[in-house]
């Protein structure tokens, strides 16, 4: 009966029962075969990537060491001045802090909610397919449209305050996007609202790999819900957790659209992120070199944080 909880789609995606030992042998044989694969197969793709991504990126990166205004024909080499300036600039350090807060907030809250939703819809309830579609639906809306929608809903006389008033919680009415103390968290909330369903789908895919037989055995042995989750489901979900954390932390670090549409970094500088500040400096302040220096620092942030996270989760998976 427990197997019936898995939907037909899940069954199709899950590895066929009985294929275990044979598959294991096949997988073990593969590495020696893979080593013999012609290395030049990767050359066209690598060259293509180099020409459309690496080369333009390196070309652009050199502007970080100049004072180019984005328009003039001339610019001067200024060494690492732009980077020194960045860490002396309160707007930039504030934006770095906001970016880290958003990334941390989005990563933690989105994945917790995504996981709970996945566990919730990975059951036998009749409406599970409808629920999955509904919960995933916000993820397919363009972030700009989401931003405008929530800007409207969070207005002082918008639907959110209207709803609070209606249910007798008028005292909780807030100036959501106009209050510097909460505007940043409203943006985090909107991002989580939009992408929790996306995390859910990835967790759902991971849940399909959890062996039902082990779950059944643990239930018979008297394991409670939490112990089953912690000792059986969680280790199996490690790849899904890795990819979800990675995607949400990268998405949080480079967040631009929602912030730009909802607050443009305001009120004051309360919601400026590195991405909005890069845009402002490069395209609004005629300070292209400084903008590129910020972009390089952001790239470094994303690379270091996601790399560290990948390693940490890899170790954790190995340990479990």
């Amino acid at each position: 009966m427990v197997r019936n909880a898995v939907t037909p789609a899940v069954e199709a995606a899950a590895p066929a029962e009985g294929a275990g030992p044979g598959r294991t042998r096949q997988v073990r044989r593969r590495p020696s075969h893979a080593r013999r694969a012609p290395w030049f197969f990767v050359v066209p793709a690598a060259l293509f990537y180099a020409f459309i991504v690496l080369w333009p990126s390196l070309q652009g990166a050199r502007y970080a060491f100049t004072n180019w205004d984005g328009l003039s024909r001339a610019s001067e080499f200024v060494g690492v001045d732009q980077f020194v300036r960045l860490f002396d600039d309160p707007a930039a350090t504030g934006a770095i802090w906001h970016t880290l807060l958003i990334a941390a907030g989005v990563t933690i809250i989105q994945n917790l909610i995504g996981l709970l939703l996945a566990l919730g819809v990975h059951t036998r309830i009749k409406s599970r397919n409808v629920l999955r579609v509904l919960l995933f639906a916000p993820a397919i809306i363009t972030p700009v449209a989401t931003g405008y929608l929530w800007q409207y809903l969070l207005a002082p006389d918008g639907a959110v305050n209207g709803l609070l008033e209606l249910v007798g919680l008028g005292a909780w009415r807030q100036n959501w996007l106009g209050d510097p103390a909460i505007a940043l968290w409203c943006i985090v909330g909107v991002v989580v609202w939009q992408f929790a369903g996306y995390s859910m789908v990835i967790f759902l895919a991971g849940l399909q790999g959890v062996p039902e037989a082990v779950l059944e055995a643990s239930t018979i042995d008297g394991a409670g819900r939490f112990r089953r989750f912690w000792h059986i489901i969680r280790p199996e979900l490690a790849p899904a957790i890795t990819i979800n954390l990675m995607l949400s932390i990268i998405g949080g670090l480079k967040l631009f659209d929602q912030v730009w549409v909802m607050t443009q970094g305001g009120p004051g500088n309360a919601t400026d992120t590195m991405s909005t500040l890069i845009y402002k400096n490069a395209f609004q302040f005629n300070d292209f070199g400084y903008g590129v220096a910020m972009a390089l620092v952001l790239t470094l942030f994303v690379a270091v944080l996601s790399g560290a996270q990948y390693k940490a989760l890899g170790r954790q998976k190995g340990a479990s």
């Binding site: 207005a155 106009g178 209050d179 009120p267 005629n286």
Partner: protein
């Protein structure tokens, strides 16, 4: 290995070819008109007026062809800069007058991308109030087609219904705010969530408080002889804050967008809004024909004779110095600056022609602005004479923080001075 080498070479050729195809040729976004068409680029705000002007021009000049590309403001600023620096810019381009904007006259002409228009027939007719923002090094670089202004746009229908009159002095203005409140109305709707809206009240107050008493103030700042902090800008920001404290604005202006602020006035929930003249057609569209509006100066002292307005070159165009169809571009710009071109443009855009003329039928909502323009009682928008776009941004940020009670006028002006001193 022979096979491996063949694949490697083939891969390299394919990749190079694909990359080359991606980067070759002039940009298609407005850079090449083909067939001798004069290419023009402008922000999408200009679409109704420019479309009307192009249609009239092509009708009057059957051999001419004008091809226009529009982009939203942010997108336009980034695209046109890339096109200018890569040599693929259109023949005629929308340029902001003066300075303080990424595609302002000082920036584009300073980098050598604009054609000198000093010799054109209209260049000497530009009014003295506009010349500082159309000229650089004694030469004219842009054609300022329209004249726009900032003031309080009142919903006069709602005003009449509430039995209130337009305030003419600062004291009357504070009384007006109190009276509006008693009527259950907002005196001035403020959409300060939209950054550019934050500057408008300062721009409406400073002509009377700063630039009227000292018309040389902008030049003195440029010479390093004056600062915001030690000027009547302090008084202007104090009055801005006082307006908020006296309940002149709606509740939560920082959570209210530009669009919402206009809706409040169109519906009559707010009696006025401090805005640019372009808000008038937007309000009329929302409110319908039964509701009338009037753009009036925002008083800042108790002597109406001292009142001035911010009025400046609005829609302006420059000719690309490297234009492919320079003659056609210059002819089109000359036509835009003719009475026929300017009037058509201004009528469609609810603005005024930059060179006043008898043939123009003014929108009744703009008669006061027209009078101030003709009497020389206007001063260019402040940012048009600032050396970089950071000052304006510092102003936006400071006003939002002022309204949120997180800074003081003195600190706000100190930060604007810091941004100003960073220079061009």
């Amino acid at each position: 290995m022979k096979f491996a080498k063949r694949v490697l070479v083939l891969g390299a050729i394919l990749s190079l070819g694909a990359a080359g195809a991606c980067s070759s040729g002039p940009g298609s976004a407005g850079g090449d008109g083909g067939d001798g068409a004069v290419t023009v680029a402008a922000t999408s705000n200009e679409k109704p007026a420019l479309d009307a002007a192009v249609a009239a021009y092509e009708e009057a000049h059957p051999d001419a062809e004008i091809q226009v590309t529009y982009a939203a403001l942010d997108q336009y600023q980034t695209t046109i800069r890339t096109q200018l620096s890569s040599g693929t810019a259109p023949d005629v381009l929308f340029v902001w007058p003066g300075n303080g904007n990424p595609v302002a006259m000082e920036v584009a002409a300073g980098a050598g991308y604009l054609e000198d228009l000093s010799g054109r027939p209209w260049a000497e007719q530009i009014s003295e109030g506009i010349k500082p923002v159309a000229r650089r090094d004694g030469k004219t670089w842009i054609a300022p087609v329209g004249f726009s202004g900032i003031g309080a746009v009142y919903n006069t229908t709602a005003l009449d219904a509430a039995g209130l009159a337009v305030p003419e002095t600062w004291t009357e203005l504070l009384d007006f705010c109190a009276a509006a409140k008693r009527e259950g109305k907002v005196a001035f709707s403020l959409g300060a969530q939209t950054p550019w809206v934050t500057q408008l009240t300062s721009y409406a107050l400073t002509p009377t408080l700063v630039y009227g008493p000292n018309p040389e103030f902008a030049q003195q700042m440029a010479n390093g002889e004056a600062t915001f902090a030690d000027s009547a800008w302090q008084s202007a920001l104090n009055k801005y804050v006082e307006m908020q404290e006296r309940g002149c604005f709606n509740e939560s202006p920082l959570g209210t967008s530009y669009e919402s602020s206009l809706t409040q006035v169109a519906k009559g929930d707010a009696l006025g809004v401090v805005q640019v003249n372009s808000a008038v057609p937007a309000l009329k569209e929302q409110a319908g024909d039964d509701v009338s509006f009037d753009l009036r100066p925002l008083p800042a002292t108790d002597d109406p004779a001292e009142t001035r307005m911010a009025g400046a070159a609005g829609s302006s165009y420059g000719v690309n110095a490297a234009a492919e169809h320079k003659d056609g571009a210059l002819e089109f710009v000359d036509w835009l600056m003719s009475a026929e071109g300017m009037n058509l443009y201004a009528e469609t855009n609810a603005a005024l022609p930059s060179i006043p003329n008898d043939q123009f039928t003014v929108d009744p909502a703009l008669t006061t602005l027209q009078r101030y323009q003709e009497e020389g009682k206007t001063f260019p928008y402040m940012d048009q004479q600032w050396p970089n776009a950071r000052v304006q941004q510092a102003h936006f940020t400071a006003v939002q923080e002022l309204l949120g009670g997180r800074t003081t006028p003195a600190d706000a002006l100190r930060r604007m001075d810091e941004a100003y001193q960073q220079g061009a």
